[in-house]
């Protein structure tokens, strides 16, 4: 609440800064008795455009809502519209369509019937960024109602850093013995030494061997009894 108040204070200050010529009367946009003469009622006009789509494909499901459902208008076959019988005031005009997205526009009508359109800004409510009047509302594309499903593709899988980290050592393991001549006894000795250096703990089980043992035991049921004890402390050859 306090935050809200503080923000409101800021906006009041901002308003003062802008020092706008607010010549618009503060007419209540509520329902006015129908007995009023036509002079006090105005017409909001404009045109809605959906690029690349024929008007007859979308106008039958679209409506123009002025300030919620306070005033309702319909689209003509050429995409233009007029909302009749609107008293002076400030309104948010919105084209609602289940298939296309339109940005709302704020339309101000003075008591004399002067119109202007501006961008809707709910935070700085008095800021004026002019829009053309009669309204030209261009759709910003179809609605994006749906979330994208995470799809599983081979490329996603392969380009993953974890996979890369696994594939590279694998390649080294497979390719390195081919490149280096392992039949040379000197070379072999050297490699064994370096391996021992890499693997300082000879008690640690070899993963591949452990796996083979485990699976061979799983298939042969006779040795199933001592499987637990062995797998806890497997020996290295």
């Amino acid at each position: 609440m306090q935050q809200m108040n503080r923000l409101l204070d800021i906006y009041v200050a901002l308003q003062a800064l802008f020092a706008l010529s607010w010549c618009f009367s503060d007419a209540e946009p509520g329902p006015v008795a129908g007995s009023q003469s036509n002079g006090d009622r105005f017409k909001i006009e404009g045109r809605a455009i959906v690029p690349g789509v024929k008007t007859q494909d979308w106008i039958s499901t679209a409506r123009i809502l002025v300030e919620g459902e306070e005033y309702v208008g319909f689209l003509k076959t050429d995409g233009s519209f007029a909302v009749n019988d609107v008293p002076s005031g400030s309104y948010v005009v919105e084209i609602v369509s289940p298939s296309f997205r339109f940005d709302p526009v704020r339309v101000d009508i003075t008591s004399k019937g002067k119109m202007r359109a501006r961008l809707v800004n709910y935070i700085k409510t008095s800021e004026v960024i002019r829009q053309p009047y009669p309204l030209q509302i261009r759709s910003s594309g179809p609605h994006m109602y749906f979330m994208k499903r995470e799809t599983w593709g081979w490329t996603d899988f392969l380009m993953n850093p974890m996979v890369m980290m696994m594939v590279l050592p694998l390649l080294i393991i497979v390719l390195l013995p081919k490149v280096v001549n392992t039949n040379d006894p000197e070379m072999r000795k050297e490699m064994e030494q370096s391996m021992n250096m890499l693997n300082p703990n000879p008690e640690l089980p070899d993963v591949s061997e452990f796996m083979t043992k485990l699976f061979s035991k799983g298939s042969s049921k006779s040795s199933g009894g001592n499987k637990g004890s062995r797998s806890v402390a497997p020996k290295r050859r």
């Binding site: 003469s37 309702v72 083979t212």
Partner: protein, 967 residues
Amino acid sequence: MAWLVVRLAISVSLLYAASAVFEDQVGKFDWRQQFIGKVRFALFDTHSQASKKLLVATDKNVFASLNSRTGDLFWRHVDKTGPEGHIDALLMYGQDAVVVVGNGRLLRSWETTVGGLKWETVLDTGSFQAAALVGVQDLVKYVAVLKKSAISLHDLSSGSQIWGENLPDSDSVQYQTIYSGENGLVFVLGIVPNSHIVIVEYKIEDGEIMNKKSVEAAWMSSLESSCAVVSSGILLCVDQITQSLYTLPLQSAEQTEMRQIHLQMLDLEVASGFRPVLTSTQPNPAQPPLSEFFLQLSPDHHILLQFKDGLIALLRDFSPSYLAAFATSGERTVAAVMSPKNDTACSINLFSADTGRKHLDTTIIYHMDPNGGKPNRLYVHAFLKKDDSVGYRVMVQTEDLTLTFLQQPGRVVWMREEALADVVTMEMVDLPFTGTQAELEGEFGKKAAIQDGLLPMVLKRLSSQFILLQAWLAHLWKLFYDARKPRSSVKHEVTIDILSRDEFNLQKMMLMVTASGKLFGIDSKSGTILWKQYLENIQPNSVFKLIVQRTTAHFPHPPQCTLLIKNKDTGLGSLYVFNPIFGKKSQISVPTLPRPVLQTLLLPVIDQDYAKVLLLIDDQYKVTAFPSTKNVLQQLQDTASSIFFYLVDSSQGKLSGFRLRKDLSTELIWEVVIPTEVQKIVAVKGKRANEHVHSQGRVMGDRSVLYKYLNPNLLAVITESTDTHQERSFVGIFLIDGVTGRIVHEAVQRKARGPVHFVHSENWVVYVYWNSKFRRNEFSVLELFEGAELYNSTVFSSLDRPHAPQVLQQSYIFPAPINTLEATLTEKGITSRHLLVGLPSGNILSLPKMFLDPRRPELVSEQSREENLIPYAPEMPIREEWFINYNQTVSRVRGIYTAPSGLESTCLVVAYGLDIYQTRVFPSKQFDVLKDDYDYILISSVLFGLFFATMISKRLAEVKLLNRAWR
């Protein structure tokens, strides 16, 4: 292994995204039904033979085009509610439909194939009287609109006004009808009641008054109901007092008196107390009406008459007959008459209009719904068959707003339940178990275990297991059988008999109460109407309250629902008790309610038949219990001291709390007066009884717990200021304890006005109001906490809470108008809550409650990050992915109903307004079931791959070992 890790990482990252719909889920568990309301005007497009269009205008201010072959909507335009969008007249010519809207304020022309507007013109003010198409030389060019004091003529192609004239002596003469024949003249007929008729002739070209005359008619009080124009400009009127018809040629200058023809001369008599009705037909507006017309003499007596050479001839007498209507195809006009056949069916027959002869083989049998109302409107679509005979289809509208479209010999082509366009209240009831399921449940009953020994129980277990196996095999066989058939031929017919609870209780029975007094039972999975019941004699201003007294959980007792129907003006009410699964009226005796009912209360106390006790409090503060058996009364006496209730009197601004006494009388224990001069009570809401709160508190960033103030008796009272000036108006909210009357908290929103929508749940209240200074909607959230310690953690008592709760509040800007607000509800309350916001655009926004948290910090700190608090932002985001109903918009959404399902993650949602939309939402995603996109193929291929890899590597290792041994 890696990809599993990867997938886990992805799913964790997605957990933070709010629930949304995936494209492949469309229509999987959601459905929408669109309605139009009570039909006021219906016109078949007779422009071309192949046309399927049926244009309708309804009392819900909807103008729509229906496909007459299927009953589906081609397009639909929903105008403003209230008198400003009211459709006064619908005229059709060719491809265009002309509609007069808002008491003659707007004249619109619609292109009916596309559903777009052709033109729209604003008419002068004045109350609308009549509209007619005007033709010149066989061509319809204009439309004339008659107002109370003026007439105007508009061009049909552009809507521009040709001329407009004030009517002479409009302050004394009531002009009511308009007529245009073939001769370039427009006749305006007015009346001075019980004195004379005024006929004014206008020239079509320039609106010049050609002639004006007045004719004595002292007996006449209204033109509209008792007169019609037949033949070439003959005004025909009927009077029930003198039992005679009167005729007057509109054009002749010499005849200044109406000619009287006694009905006795035709051997006819008007039923006493019935106002006779004349129905004529004008197939082409550019030509004069036909000389044949219907005269209705009593509710079930119509006669077809012909006016010829100043004489009236009887063509055919239809007795008994309920409804009669004309229809034209090409040059031929026919009359369809509905007459009773037996108690349950009516027959509709076709007669040629000019002779009254019956067309052979044209009978349509209309079967009346025994649970429905009587037919009251008949619309006929006539067409020429290939052999040049006239064929026809009819649309019947009944009192309970069912539209039935029939063709010969009585096949129902489609049916629409338009009562559902105005749902007042609804409930969801669990479906019952099937026989086998119930039997399995019975096995665990208490009695069974005591009576039987060990062996019979084992046998019972085995036999029930066998029954399950049998059922499963039967299911498999059915699946296999269905799969062999082509998909289109497999009918998914849903009937009550095969409906049973599914394993997650996702399918339920929706009970809908409509304003017209028709009850519906709808399957929530498919939207099929399983039963319907029309309650007759419901006043149009009734209010309804639906109460579930016994759920389906108490087999073999049937579930029981009670509907309280209350007249808004007198407050007198009545109860209707029924079985929600089958829609049958219960035989239980219902207490009569001689006094107005002020409040109802459903107690957790149950009687010996497991029905919850309903208390009804009348205006003398006396309490009636239903059911009121001895058992119940005994229980009530025991618990009376802990039963409290509250009453709201918004006209006096008074809230009062009462306690029940042992003798079922009451005593006043508190009263809160909110002065009506300053503000008025708009709404009062407690919490939902079926709501569960899982966590008692919130864990803070520093690992301490902030306990929620969970008062089940808390009432949220919303007030609005009586002063509506935008500088001085305000919205107030009071949180009042319903037992003690203590005001726990009050807040005022200055420079704000209604309509206020609010949700009261758990320890929070969310409300929306209009900020009249900044012209925007604002959300405000109030959360109540007990603090770091709970006062009494075992039980909450309103009488013993010495510490006032801490109240936190925050407000946000909501960048859209709002129609309705509701919160999701789940079985155990573990799932995070979402707010469902119905927008005027028809979308339903699922807004995470996380965004409405008064603890959202302005500055992000380590602790707030630990708590997952979103930094404060004044404007609430609206994302299109949060629209749970994607493009299936719900027009004029008026209410959203939420119900928990058997799955904790899933909440069932029904939005109703003009349309009905049902779906499921998963506020915290589907954490308790496998997701829709669960990749079975990937998982199984990985498993198989691993298996084969181990097999191969084992073989390779063996070979390697062998080789090594040989070395």
